[in-house]
C-alpha cells in the first residue's frame, strides 16, 4: 500500500508546485484589482505552445525558452489589460468577468485556427532516478524548482522593489496610492502582466512533461480556481500551498478510487470551502 502511495504522493506534490504557480497568477490579479481573469486558461495554453515553438522551431533548451515565454506572457498581459480590462475596472463584477471571457474566446479562436485542437508534445527528457520505491523524473523536479524560484522572485519583487511596493499600495487602496503620486493605471497593467506571466510560465513547465492541446488550459484554469479558493483569493503564498494540496489529492485519490472521481472530490471540496470559509484556508492578503 505504502509502496503505491508514496510515489503518487511525490508525483502529485511536484506537479502541485506548478499548479500553485499557475494559480498564483490568478490570485495576484484578483488581489490587486478584484478581477477574476477568465482568460487564464488560454494563457496557460499559449505558454505551452510558446515553449513548444521555441523548443521545436528555434531549438532552444526548454528552460531557456521558458524565459522567452515568460516575457511574452508579460507583454500579452499588459496588452490585454489596456485593451479589455482598464475600461471596465470600475464597472460591476459581471463586466470584468465577461471582458476577460471575451479575451478567452479570442485567444482560443486564434489558437484553434493556427494549431487546430490536435495534441502536441515537447519531446524532451532528462531521464529519471529511483529513490527506493519512488521514481523521480528530472523534468518534474526541474519544474518544481522553477516554480519555487518564480515564487521567490515574485515575493522579492513585491516586497523589495519600488514597483512591487507600488503594486501593494494600489492593491491596498487605489485612491490613496494615486494621491501619493503612484501612476495606478500603469501599476495595474504591470500587475496584470505579471499575473499572465506566471500563468504562461506554468503552462511552459507543464508542457515539458504532459502532452497538450490548445484547449488544455481550461482544466488548469479550473484547478487554479480551486487552488485560489483553497489558499485564499489574493494570497500568492496561499496559492502555492493550495497547489500542493491539490497536487497531493490528485496523486493520492486514484490509489483509492477511479481517476474520474478526482474532479468530483476537488470541486466538492471547492464548494465546501467557499461556503464555510470564503477567505480561504490561509485568509486573504496582499
Amino acid at each position: 500500500m505504502f509502496d503505491i502511495l508514496l510515489p503518487s504522493l511525490v508525483d502529485g506534490l511536484m506537479i502541485g508546485f506548478v499548479y500553485g504557480l499557475a494559480a498564483m497568477g490568478l490570485s495576484l490579479i484578483w488581489g490587486v484589482m478584484n478581477v477574476i481573469n477568465l482568460a487564464h486558461g488560454p494563457i496557460i495554453a499559449l505558454g505551452m505552445f510558446g515553449l513548444y515553438l521555441a523548443f521545436n522551431t528555434l531549438g532552444l533548451n526548454p528552460y531557456l525558452a521558458l524565459i522567452l515565454v515568460a516575457l511574452a506572457g508579460l507583454l500579452l498581459g499588459v496588452l490585454i489589460y489596456y485593451v479589455a480590462v482598464q475600461r471596465v475596472l470600475t464597472a460591476p463584477h459581471l463586466s470584468t468577468l465577461l471582458a476577460t471571457f471575451a479575451v478567452n474566446m479570442i485567444l482560443i479562436g486564434i489558437g484553434t485556427a493556427i494549431f487546430s485542437v490536435s495534441p502536441y508534445n515537447v519531446d524532451f527528457s532528462m531521464g529519471s532516478m529511483d529513490f527506493g520505491p519512488v521514481r523521480v523524473l528530472w523534468t518534474r523536479v526541474a519544474a518544481a524548482l522553477a516554480a519555487l524560484i518564480a515564487t521567490g522572485l515574485l515575493y522579492a519583487f513585491l516586497f523589495r522593489t519600488r514597483q512591487g511596493k507600488n503594486i501593494r499600495a494600489v492593491a491596498n487602496n487605489r485612491v490613496a496610492a494615486e494621491l501619493m503620486g503612484i501612476p495606478s493605471s500603469r501599476v495595474l497593467a504591470l500587475s496584470f502582466g505579471i499575473g499572465t506571466m506566471l500563468a504562461a510560465t506554468a503552462g511552459g513547465l507543464i508542457a515539458t512533461f504532459f502532452p497538450f492541446t490548445i484547449l488544455a488550459g481550461g482544466g488548469y484554469e479550473l484547478r487554479s480556481f480551486v487552488i485560489v479558493v483553497l489558499g485564499g483569493l489574493g494570497n500568492p503564498l496561499g496559492a502555492l500551498v493550495g497547489g500542493l494540496i491539490l497536487g497531493m489529492l490528485e496523486g493520492v485519490i486514484p490509489v483509492f478510487m477511479q481517476t474520474s472521481w478526482v474532479p468530483v472530490i476537488e470541486f466538492a471540496l471547492f464548494v465546501f470551502i467557499i461556503i464555510i470559509r470564503p477567505s480561504g484556508l490561509l485568509g486573504s492578503r496582499v
Binding site: S95, L98, A99, A113, V271
Partner: protein
C-alpha cells in the same frame, strides 16, 4: 389585470409566436430545427435573466439545471417509462428543488464568490453524472425509438416537442414579465442596486435571492428535457457544457440584462449569429474570435445591451421595450 393592456407585455409574446409559427406554416423540418435552437437559447437567456439581470448575481452554472432537468426527465422516461408530460413536470421541479438547496448554501456568498461557487457547482455536477451509474455514467443514456410511437411516430413526436418548446418559451416570458413588475421583482432589483440598503428597506435578501434562483432553475430543466428528447440520447458532456453557461450570459448581455425583451433578442440574435458564422467560409475557422470581439465591444461600449441602449437613446420607446 392591468398588465395585459401594456404593449411591452405583448411585444415579446407576439415576436415569439410569429417566430414559432414560421416553421408550422412552411411545414418545414429544417426551419423547425433552426427555430428550436433559437427557442432553447431564448429560454436559457430569459430564465438566467431573472437571476443575472434582476438580482445582479452572476451564475456560471445555469447549465447545471439544464443538464439536471434533462437527466431527471430522461431517466424517468427511459427507465421508468413515464410520459413526456409527466417527465416535464419533474424536469422542472427537480432542478428547482436543487436550486433551493444550493441557494440556501451559496447565496449567502456575494458577488464574485457566488460566481466562483457556481463554476464549482457546474464542474462537480458534470463529474458526478459521469460517474453515477444509474444514469448511464460516461456513456449517457439512450431512448428506445419505440417510445416515439406513443406520440404518433418519430416525425410527429418532433413536432409535438416543438409545440411544447413554444409553450415553455411563452411561459418563461410571462413569468419573467410578472416577476419584473411585482413587488418581489422590485425587491430583487433593490438587491441588485445595493443589497445592504435593500435589507434595511425590509427586503429579506436571502429568501428573495433563493426564490429568484429557484424560478430561474425551472425552465432550463424543462427545455433541457425537450432538447434531449428530440435527440433521443444524452451524454454528460452535452448536458453540462460550462461553455453554454457562459454563452447564455453573453446572450443576456447582448440583448440587455434586466429587461424582459433583451434576453429574447439576445438569445435569438446570438444563436443566429453563431449559425451564420459557422457556415461562412471566411469566418468558419475564426467564428470564436468574431464572437469574442463582438462580446468585448458590447461590454466595453454598450454595457446595457441592445434594449438598454435603445431605451437610453429613445426614451419614447420605453413604454414598448420592457
Amino acid at each position: 389585470m392591468k398588465i395585459y393592456t401594456k404593449p411591452g407585455f405583448w411585444l415579446p409574446i407576439v415576436l415569439v409566436a410569429l417566430v414559432g409559427l414560421w416553421p408550422i406554416i412552411t411545414d418545414n423540418a429544417a426551419n423547425r430545427e433552426v427555430v428550436s435552437s433559437i427557442l432553447v437559447s431564448v429560454v436559457l437567456a430569459s430564465s438566467l435573466n431573472i437571476l443575472l439581470g434582476y438580482t445582479g448575481y452572476v451564475s456560471f452554472g445555469h447549465i447545471v439545471f439544464f443538464g439536471f432537468g434533462a437527466y431527471t426527465g430522461f431517466y424517468l422516461m427511459s427507465v421508468q417509462g413515464w410520459s413526456i408530460y409527466a417527465a416535464m413536470i419533474m424536469a422542472g421541479l427537480v432542478p428547482a428543488f436543487l436550486a433551493f438547496l444550493l441557494g440556501k448554501a451559496i447565496l449567502r456568498l456575494r458577488g464574485a464568490y457566488f460566481a466562483l461557487a457556481t463554476i464549482g457547482v457546474n464542474e462537480a455536477a458534470r463529474a458526478f453524472i459521469k460517474n453515477f451509474e444509474p444514469m448511464g455514467g460516461s456513456v449517457g443514456m439512450q431512448l428506445n425509438f419505440k417510445i416515439y410511437n406513443d406520440y404518433g411516430g418519430a416525425a410527429q413526436a418532433l413536432w409535438t416537442t416543438f409545440y411544447l418548446m413554444i409553450a415553455v418559451t411563452l411561459a418563461v416570458i410571462i413569468v419573467s414579465y410578472l416577476v419584473r413588475f411585482s413587488k418581489f421583482g422590485l425587491g430583487l432589483m433593490a438587491i441588485r442596486e445595493n443589497e445592504d440598503a435593500a435589507e434595511v428597506m425590509g427586503v429579506v435578501a436571502p429568501d428573495s435571492k433563493t426564490w429568484a434562483y429557484v424560478i430561474s432553475a425551472i425552465f432550463p430543466g424543462i427545455v433541457g428535457l425537450l432538447f434531449f428528447f428530440k435527440n433521443a440520447t444524452i451524454l454528460p458532456g452535452d448536458a453540462f457544457r460550462l461553455h453554454l453557461s457562459i454563452e447564455t450570459i453573453v446572450m443576456v448581455m447582448l440583448g440587455g440584462a434586466g429587461t424582459v425583451l433583451g434576453p429574447i433578442l439576445g438569445g435569438a440574435g446570438y444563436q443566429r449569429l453563431r449559425g451564420t458564422l459557422l457556415v461562412t467560409p471566411l469566418f468558419r475557422n475564426i467564428q470564436l474570435v468574431v464572437a469574442g470581439v463582438l462580446l468585448l465591444i458590447i461590454i466595453l461600449f454598450i454595457p446595457a445591451g441592445i434594449v438598454g441602449w435603445l431605451r437610453d437613446r429613445f426614451p419614447s420607446l420605453r413604454r414598448v421595450l420592457e
